[in-house]
């Protein structure tokens, strides 16, 4: 086995940044050796680095890159069950299986995530209201423990360990492989209807009217104030029937990497003015009240993937995504209060999306729960940005909501514990699975999810 390499690692938001010893396993044997013969160093598995904050960062330990453990182990075209190693990406999955008439059961906003990461974050997508989150479609997860032992878990076998692993941020062990049930689709296109919504009430009405559409999401104008709060463009979609051809969109036709955020890396590019213009253009782009079209799955599900490393456009200081969910409330008081605080704060988001979650909730550290979720991207302009989030945290807690750990880089311990009251049960299961506290991360340390490593 090679000596670890010293690398600077960052999450997708580029904040924080840590120096870490990094190993890349080339085989399962390699990985097990890296975990068991690693002396007493903490370890953490890392996939494609799309978690925004510090979920995939570890200082003073060894970060294990999973990118080469990306092999397909079995596929049953009759049932759609696919078994693969944890480093297999949704990008590969869509590329290989969409032409065969299959699509992932759930996709987040980027296809550059590994299946291991998808489970550790229990990712959700535009179909949460119908299909729930990633963990609902998974069975037979192989988990590597610190002793080198491999255990199977899912909703039936070792169900507590599975419960803690889904959304468990990689802190229960290393996910080696899983089986996931793919969805049958008839084409690579999506039928979409877009509706301009003028405020929050209209968004919720339109969202309710599209409950039976499998996919829905809305862009939200974070600059809107007063009665316009919540205005945006609502989109609902469904896989198009056989023979449909979806427009790929100009950006996704170009070779990957041609348009890259690297060339636009600047601390000045995404500022208040450009953000305001961008949001105004987005709102006016939807000229008619309602329109429909058929587009390729790529621009529909992964619009930002067309720009390679778009996170660089926020410059070296990076950015934050603040994603929260608040429980359903007929008057939407908390939601309005939070959105108003943002638009009046002077710390304004560049891009925002809003979506109504369904009734399914996995529990533990998994994020989705019934209610409305909003995700907003903010440039890191320093203390004012962090102060805004602290104020928002209080409102989210008061409303009985929570923020998404996979997007988080700064949540405090107290707020976390009030957002995720099941953390105590979760930690009991985690501690039993890993009594040595070998699996650690900066996020785990920040939120008190892992104890000191014992010798």
């Amino acid at each position: 086995m090679n000596a670890p390499a010293r690398k600077t690692l960052e999450g997708w938001g580029r904040y924080p940044r840590v120096e870490s010893d990094v190993l890349r396993s080339e085989s399962r044997r390699d990985l097990i050796a890296a975990v068991t013969s690693n002396g007493n160093h903490p370890v953490l598995a890392r996939g494609l680095g799309r978690a925004y904050g510090d979920a995939a960062l570890l200082e003073g330990g060894v970060t294990l890159l999973m990118e080469r453990l990306d092999r397909i182990l079995e596929f049953d075209p009759e049932t759609g069950w696919l078994k693969c190693e944890a480093g297999f990406s949704l990008d590969d999955l869509v590329r290989i299986f969409l032409p065969r008439g299959f699509f992932p059961p759930v996709v987040p906003g980027t296809r550059f995530v590994t299946l291991g990461g998808a489970l550790a974050s229990d990712v959700h997508g535009k179909n949460h209201h119908i299909s729930g989150s990633w963990a609902s479609h998974v069975r037979s997860v192989e988990l590597l423990k610190s002793t080198g032992e491999i255990v199977f878990c899912d909703a039936e076998r070792n169900s507590e360990l599975f419960w803690a692993t889904a959304g468990g941020q990689g802190l229960t062990g290393i996910i080696l492989s899983m089986e996931v049930k793919l969805r049958r689709v008839e084409s690579g296109a999506v039928d979409v209807v877009s509706t301009r919504v003028r405020d929050l009430e209209e968004f919720l009405d339109v969202s309710a009217a599209h409950q039976d559409w499998p996919y829905s999401v809305s862009w939200i104008d974070g600059f809107a104030r007063g009665r316009s709060i919540g205005r945006g463009n609502f989109m609902a979609g469904r896989h198009a029937p056989a023979g449909s051809n979806g427009k790929a969109g100009l950006l996704s036709k170009l070779p990957r990497g041609l348009i890259s955020g690297r060339f636009l890396e600047s601390n000045l590019l995404l500022n208040g003015l450009s953000a305001r213009m961008f949001n105004a253009v987005l709102y006016r782009k939807q000229i008619r009240k309602r329109s429909s079209s058929t587009i390729s799955v790529y621009p529909f599900f992964f619009p930002l993937d067309a720009v390679d490393r778009w996170n660089r456009m926020y410059g070296k200081r990076g950015f934050f995504q603040y994603q929260f969910v608040v429980p359903p409330d007929p008057q939407n008081l908390a939601l309005k209060q939070i959105l108003a605080s943002i638009s009046e704060s002077g710390t304004l988001p560049f891009l925002g999306v809003i979506k109504e979650f369904g009734s399914e909730s996995h529990g533990g550290l998994s994020f989705p729960r019934p209610g409305v979720t909003v995700a907003l991207d903010f440039a890191n302009t320093g203390q004012n940005t962090l102060d805004l989030f602290t104020r928002l945290d209080d409102m989210v807690v008061d409303a009985g909501g929570r923020v998404y750990l996979t997007k988080d880089a700064r949540l405090g311990l107290d707020a976390f514990r009030r957002m995720y009251p099941e953390w105590t049960e979760w930690k009991l299961v985690r501690d039993e699975a890993d009594p040595l506290n070998m699996f650690q991360s900066e996020l785990g340390r920040r939120l008190g999810l892992v104890g000191e490593m014992s010798d």
């Binding site: 090679n2 000596a3 670890p4 390499a5 010293r6 690398k7 990094v22 890349r24 080339e26 085989s27 399962r28 044997r29 080469r68 092999r71 397909i72 182990l73 079995e74 596929f75 190693e85 290989i96």
Partner: protein, 244 residues
């Protein structure tokens, strides 16, 4: 076409197998770590829906090599192209301290590679067709104090392939020597260098294409031919003082 890949568990070998599987070729993956070979075989099978076979191969078990080739021919039907990909970098310091470590490096990279190539050569010469792609290294172009056991073995194997190429040319069998520079493998992982590092996937594509074109000695990435030309041009009295 039927393709044999020896040392099938490295990422370069996986990529070579995938390249041929894309064309619909049958591949036989041979290596020591059976579980890992199985994993790679299932991956290629699902991705490319082609025939993938597996075999146990031990580079330093020289006596097994002729029998291994016989079995491989029986399993595949024939061997049209064979890639000799396996290798072991070893650790220079360990090899200097303990000759048994040095010997493993020589046995795997030179004797083992020659032994299996000979077995292949015998079969292909008699059949009057076939391609052998031997993976050597730019490290074999000039002895350096930092890894001369590995360099000597890879350089020796390149010389062997050169001779074999001449011998087999008359019977219509082609031998290509591939001299690889920096490829993104465990050998270069974490290496801090300004020299571009090629992906295993682009390497596999380039090797398949070069072999099909009948290249004799093929450097990849291509600029290593010039780099090694310069390095070989440094006078020995200067070179021996360089800490390389």
């Amino acid at each position: 076409m039927n393709v044999l890949i020896l040392g099938a568990t490295s990422r370069i070998a996986q990529a070579i197998a995938a390249e041929h599987a894309t064309d619909g070729d049958s591949v036989l993956l041979a290596a020591r770590d059976r579980d890992e070979v199985k994993t790679i075989a299932s991956d290629i099978q699902v991705r490319h829906s082609t025939r993938v076979l597996i075999g146990d191969f031990e580079a330093t078990d020289f006596d097994s090599h002729v029998g291994f080739i016989t079995d491989a021919i029986e399993a595949l039907g024939s061997i049209d192209t064979a890639y000799v990909v396996f290798g072991a970098m070893g650790e220079q310091a360990a090899s200097e301290k303990d000759f048994s470590a040095a010997r493993t490096v020589l046995d795997v990279n030179f004797t083992g590679a020659v032994s299996i190539s000979e077995a292949l050569a015998g079969y292909m010469e008699e059949r009057g067709q076939g391609v052998i792609v031997g993976i050597s290294s730019v490290a074999g172009d000039r002895g350096r104090q930092s890894n001369y056991f590995y360099g000597a073995a890879k350089g020796g194997y390149a010389l062997y392939l050169q001779g074999l190429r001449g011998r087999l040319a008359r019977s219509g069998v082609h031998v290509m020597t591939a001299k690889l520079g920096f490829i993104d493998t465990p050998m270069t992982f974490g290496l801090k260098t300004k020299i571009p590092i090629a992906s295993p996937e682009s390497t596999a594509r380039a090797l398949k294409k070069a072999a099909a074109k009948g290249k004799n000695t093929f450097y990849y990435p291509w600029f290593w031919r010039q780099v090694m030309f310069m390095i070989k041009a440094i006078p020995e009295r200067m070179f021996k003082k360089l800490k390389v």
